[in-house]
């Protein structure tokens, strides 16, 4: 059964096609990463799924309930964690959660129990008396997660939950999301930190200019377009790293991807390892003092950037229509 089902979804803002006919399914109990550049249509799609915006066309079902027809029913099954948690002044963490628990219909002892459960899960007990609008980003995200979990939702939609978090808070959040996934909740999560998404998610959705450009697991993405992508090597040299840049600029089949403190990261065209050996030989021949030369695995960021690059290229050089037979 699909927890989220989207068919031919469209959303326009005047002339801008924010979401342009996307369709996808997220099976119940899975964790799905939603990836795209800024302005690709992620937040718009997520807001529609969360019943906070309306599609111009298309159908969206959450747990088999149409979001347009019965938004109230959908909302009972949904937890929403926006990228920017709105906070209230003059309200402690406990009062904040207490208010939402009341708004979700919890009363008396039942409310207190539920509050304790979510505060245990998100480790907020030490913060109960703190002003909710004066928390660090990590604490705020935990509070936001606690609020989203109050009604024990079947589907959790998280828009950039890791944005602005320090590494420790990010690890904590990742751990919480993994725990929720183990509980069988369906999670749709968007993030820019693709390596983390790769670890957490069962599958990934890539969106670009309002269209889904890839849907699959992280391995399928890494292998996507891999043939043309080439092989990546980390090169370290003695002396000025600029000499590696200069060398790469004049060498065929080689592209400098990233300059580093003691060298850089290069891409060698194709997947021929013999060519890589020749490149190394050329480096040494041209006087570069190479101390390290090893192959790097293609990560999700590389795959994503390559995919965007190939899409831009395809848009810039569209295939001309076939000439009519004379």
């Amino acid at each position: 059964m699909n927890a989220i089902s989207v068919k031919n979804l469209h959303r326009n803002f005047a002339a801008l096609k924010a979401v342009d006919g996307i369709s996808f399914d997220v099976p119940a109990g899975s964790v799905c990463g939603f990836v795209g550049a800024n302005g690709a249509g992620k937040t718009t799609t997520m807001r529609i799924l969360a019943t906070l915006d309306y599609p111009d066309e298309g159908e969206v079902r959450i747990c088999d309930i149409d979001i347009m027809d019965r938004p109230d029913e959908v909302r009972k099954k949904l937890g929403w964690m926006p990228d920017d948690i709105g906070n209230y002044s003059n309200m402690t963490v406990w009062e904040y959660l207490d208010f939402y628990a009341r708004a979700l219909g919890y009363k008396g002892e039942e409310r207190q129990e539920r509050l304790n459960e979510v505060m245990d899960f998100t480790d907020l007990h030490t913060l109960v008396d703190r002003d909710s609008d004066k928390l660090s980003k990590g604490m705020t995200q935990r509070l936001c997660l606690a609020r989203a979990l109050l009604q024990d939702p079947e589907v959790l939609i998280m828009d950039e939950p890791a944005a602005g978090l320090d590494p420790k808070a990010r690890v904590e959040l990742k751990h919480l999301i993994r725990l929720l996934a183990d509980e069988g909740k369906t999670i749709l999560i968007s993030s820019h930190i693709l390596s983390e998404l790769g670890e957490m998610c069962d599958h990934l959705l890539f969106i670009n200019s309002g269209k889904i450009v890839h849907h699959g697991d992280s391995d399928s993405l890494k292998n996507h377009n891999n043939k043309d992508a080439g092989l990546l090597y980390d090169v370290q040299i003695l002396g000025d790293p600029q000499s590696l840049c200069d060398w790469a600029a004049t060498s065929p089949y080689v592209e400098l991807i990233e300059s580093r403190k003691h060298g850089g990261r290069i891409k060698v065209e194709g997947d021929d390892k013999a060519l890589a050996a020749r490149v190394l030989a050329n480096m040494l021949r041209d006087g570069l003092e190479v101390t390290e030369f090893h192959r790097e695995q293609r990560n999700l960021e590389d795959a994503f950037i390559d995919m965007l690059g190939s899409l831009e290229e395809a848009n810039a050089n569209p295939i001309p229509p076939a000439l009519p037979n004379s």
Partner: protein, 481 residues
């Protein structure tokens, strides 16, 4: 569980939240403490400086009511300007909407928390009124009635600002309440600054004059009705598409218009008063019907279409959206006209229904239609139809003032020159230089033109309504299978 813990569970969550926040907030604390300090000083100073005067008690009442009115009629309503907009700004409204609270309970909770704070302020001035009693010359019941009346008006003004606070436009949320506050300040300064006007108010509030009593009841009823309508408008703005707020609004509005017309029939009043009273009731109703964006989902149509042709016809009148709003306004206009003519001829009034009354009624109908027609012609892509409508509405009325000045200073021909505007047609209906039949023809032509434009622009919406209705019918058939 004890009673005190239980009590907060009986209240709306939004009221609990608002009271928690606001009673700790600087705004309320400053207002409350300042009022206490000022009232204490007034009592002390008046008691020491003018204790020999016979009017001391009245002066103290004037000052207490001035301060009280200032807090309740100006400061408290202005605090409502942030009601919904603060939630929109802080991006918390989304999260509120995902709870079990309906859009109405959010808006109503915001308003009721303001009213509760006003009640708290009112209860805090009671000790000063008790002390003032010892200065003599106090009429307890009228002064308590005045206190209650101020509370009702405070609720009314707060409903207006809370209602406007749901609109994204700063013009509506800020400027209209500020201008309104200036008028209120002038009014309360006039009412409480001298003993004559204050004594006059207190005397009227003894309700010995039956006409005043009728007007007073009508004003209170009108305030309650408009308060509800303003809160409903805010609710419509933030409610999800599947929440139908318009049907009940339109049905109650129509009933209110009929009740007002019939009530006025029993008063010895002129047709102008009947027309004005009825139009006062339907004006906010028409505005709310014509400013709603046309978006319809099958779940709204289902209760109507399953009742067959009659249900479908009722739906066309009562579905949300400006297209059905146009149909509703047209039908209400066509129904009210013969109703009012009949009422005017049946009433025990010594006046008859004059042709210029008919012209004025039709022209006023055009005034309500005109901003909607212009909005659909030139500003269709604006999401915020309410702001555009009200801006055009205000500019249109402003133009009427200009026309009046021009007609007075130059020539009455200027009215003919601008009679293509509904305000021009309305001004012309009060002008004696044009024959009654010409006035009527002009009013009909002008209003008819803008109505036709609106109908013409609504054609695609009707096509969409039919499509949504057929989807709703299919869904009903599928669920029956």
């Amino acid at each position: 569980m004890n009673l005190t813990n239980d009590f907060s569970d009986r209240l709306s969550p939004i009221v609990v939240k608002e009271l928690r926040q606001d009673l700790r907030g600087k705004g309320f604390l400053i207002l409350f403490i300042t009022l206490q300090i000022i009232l204490s000083l007034i009592l002390l100073l008046t008691a020491t400086l003018s204790s020999s005067s016979q009017d001391t008690g009245t002066h103290i009442s004037q000052l207490i009511f001035f301060c009280f009115s200032f807090c309740l009629l100006i400061v408290q309503p202005l605090r409502g300007c942030n009601g919904i907009s603060s939630e929109l700004k802080a991006k918390t409204l989304d999260m509120l909407q995902l709870t079990r609270m309906s859009a109405w309970s959010i808006v109503f909770g915001k308003w009721i928390s303001l009213v509760a704070q006003s009640l708290l302020i009112a209860s805090a001035i009671l000790p000063y009124l008790i002390m003032r009693y010892f200065f003599g010359n106090m009429q307890i019941l009228p002064e308590l009635t005045l206190l209650m009346t101020i509370l009702v008006f405070s609720g009314f003004f707060s409903a207006i600002t809370v209602g406007l606070s749901a609109t994204p436009s700063i013009l509506l949320r800020g400027i209209i309440p500020l201008i309104g506050s200036m008028f209120v300040f002038i009014s309360i300064a006039g009412a409480f600054s001298n003993s004559y006007s204050f004594n006059n108010i207190i005397e009227q509030l003894t309700f010995t004059d039956s006409d005043f009593t009728a007007v007073f009841i009508a004003i209170i009823a009108g305030s309650l009705y408009t308060s509800w309508l303003m809160l409903e408008i805010a609710t419509s703005i933030i409610a999800p598409l599947a929440e139908n707020r318009d049907t009940i609004k339109r049905v109650i509005g129509f009933i209110a218009a009929v009740i007002v017309s019939i009530s006025l029939m029993f008063a010895n009043t002129s047709p102008e008063a009947i027309i004005m009273g009825t139009m006062a009731v339907i004006t906010p109703l028409f505005v709310s019907a014509l400013i709603r964006t046309h978006q319809l989902v099958p779940s709204i149509c289902k209760p109507f279409v399953k009742r067959g042709r009659i249900g479908q016809l009722a739906g066309r009148l009562l579905y949300p959206g400006w297209a059905t709003g146009t149909f509703y306004c047209t039908i209400i206009g066509l129904l009210l006209l013969p109703v009012m003519i009949t009422i005017c001829s049946l009433s025990n009034s010594s006046y008859g229904f004059q042709p210029e009354d008919l012209s004025a009624f039709i022209a006023y109908f055009g005034i309500l239609i005109f901003p909607a027609a212009i909005t659909q012609l030139f500003f269709k892509k604006y999401k915020n139809l309410f702001t555009v409508y009200l801006l055009i509405f205000c500019i249109h009325w402003g133009f009427m003032i200009l026309l009046g000045i021009m007609a007075a200073t130059t020539s009455d021909d200027v009215l003919l020159l601008f009679c293509w505007l509904p305000v021009g047609a309305l001004a012309l209906s009060f002008d004696n230089t044009v024959s009654d039949s010409s006035q009527l023809v002009i009013s009909c032509l002008v209003t008819g033109t803008y109505l036709i434009i609106l109908w013409f622009k609504s054609i695609p919406a009707w096509k969409h309504i039919r499509e949504v209705e057929s989807v709703a019918l299919k869904q009903i058939a599928n669920s029956a299978d």
